[in-house]
Symmetry: C2
Subunit: 283 residues, 2 copies
């Protein structure tokens, strides 16, 4: 079984894939669309990409690509703890060191905003395509005296020394990764299962005030709990949105089909993105 993931090696997605699919063939891809396209073009069976971080919110390119471009299903969700460390080249470690520049993915930089503001105010920050890419750059340019922010695996993989551990601002830092597949049947994984979920993307009828209220009514009177609702721009104009809705309920024969039919009768377009189990990965 081949699994594409958002690389490079030692990214947080790699960490999650190693835990959830230790024995499968893992294929790193450069971007999230590349991961998704690899499934569409049958180069791999599954793709694992980040969907949402507890601090930074949704990964928009994932949500938008699933809405606008791809016709794939979520077949499982992996929730993984995220710990960020500051790491430097061993040549620049210890003693009185001055860091010229701190590099990482924009989400990792944002997750450590307060630490950076306090300990490294004025030090230039540079965004990279991933935390692992930052670690790789630092390992290859010891003369530049840069630091990277990333996970322990990246420090190990690229031979860097961790100078500050756990520098993320909020203790509760988790990321949800989704496993995407062409077919919609749920995938069972040997990890702690937490709950069943169904993800829908709903476009409201235009120019009807109170339509979102009606949509939520279809869930509320059935006592279907929503674990997430988020608006995303339709890209047709400011104020035009679709809604990403996670229902804390697996697909059944009566309740969810009834809610979906009602929303459609109200003039909504409903795209079913998947019904699946959520798994909590160990630290």
């Amino acid at each position: 079984m081949k699994i594409a993931y958002l690389g490079p090696q030692a990214s947080f997605t790699d960490l999650a894939v190693r835990k959830a699919f230790p024995d499968e063939h893992q294929v790193p891809c450069v971007t999230i669309p590349d991961c998704i396209e690899a499934v569409i073009e049958d180069e791999v069976d599954y793709a694992v990409v980040p969907l949402e971080n507890a601090l930074e919110g949704s990964v928009h390119i994932t949500v938008d690509y699933l809405f606008h471009e791809a016709d794939l299903s979520i077949v499982a969700e992996l929730t993984s703890p995220i710990q960020q460390h500051l790491m430097v080249h061993p040549e620049n470690s210890g003693g009185e060191r001055r860091i010229e520049k701190i590099m990482s993915h924009s989400h990792a930089l944002a997750q450590c905003h307060k630490f950076l503001h306090k300990a490294y105010r004025g030090t230039p920050l540079e965004q990279t395509t991933s935390t692992a890419a930052a670690a790789k750059y630092v390992s290859e340019h010891p003369g530049e005296k840069n630091a990277a922010i990333g996970n322990e695996l990246a420090a190990k993989e690229y031979g860097l020394s961790i100078s500050h551990e756990n520098i993320h601002d909020f203790a509760y830092n988790h990321t949800r990764f989704i496993v995407l597949h062409k077919k919609s049947h749920p995938l069972a994984i040997e990890q702690n299962k937490s709950e069943d979920k169904t993800t829908l993307m709903v476009t409201l009828p235009k120019d009807r005030s109170g339509a979102l209220h009606q949509v939520l009514s279809t869930f509320a009177w059935r006592q279907l709990n929503l674990s997430k609702i988020e608006s995303r721009p339709l890209k047709t104009g400011l104020g035009d949105y679709f809604f990403l809705i996670d229902v804390a309920h697996g697909m059944d024969e009566v309740l969810l089909p009834g809610a979906i039919s009602e929303m459609e009768a109200l003039g909504c377009e409903v795209k079913m993105i998947g019904t699946y189990s959520s798994y909590m990965l160990d630290q």
Copy 2:
């Protein structure tokens, strides 16, 4: 009157500020928190920062900083068209040119995703802190054969040649900028006024299913239209959100105060971010 804006010079925010406040003293700041802090610390009277782009959605650092860190009010909104162009150093313009790297702000790169995928597949992309910073870098490094994506003002300011015009993927590309101030009284601007709005941030009571539905009911039965609703993580755990709600209605004596009181009675925390007019800037 001093106005801080998200710089550097020739950024899209600069363009909006030049149109809305042509005669005022304009102070560029490096980051969005820097702009906001400049108001808090009385270094300037107002700050202008981006809040939302029609394609990429909310600018999270603005929303989160207003919720978690700052106690400022929105006193006006400026909506401005966004046109992205590809620009190179004049030495590298014309003839058979090969671009080594394309640089811009992550939102600008995302807004031109399809163009880049089609015309420059495989060319490395590099994120910069702003579109203007990318233009500045390209102007200062003619030997590197890079291109920048940004606005016309940036091309002019940094002496670059536009090689492709209007490369953004969706024709409707606008950004909402907000004007922030310490006091909450609305600011009148000599531009086309489009509508009055009120922005609220609402935190739902924990563990009560259907609470969002109740919140929307308080608006629906009063026929108060919402022009936006969006969830943002509270940063306390996956699944804990607050909601950013734009009501298409200025503050009044009866309807909005009634809705706010009802939400509070339901156990919600309501933070009023501003009641203000929205202005549409010319191209």
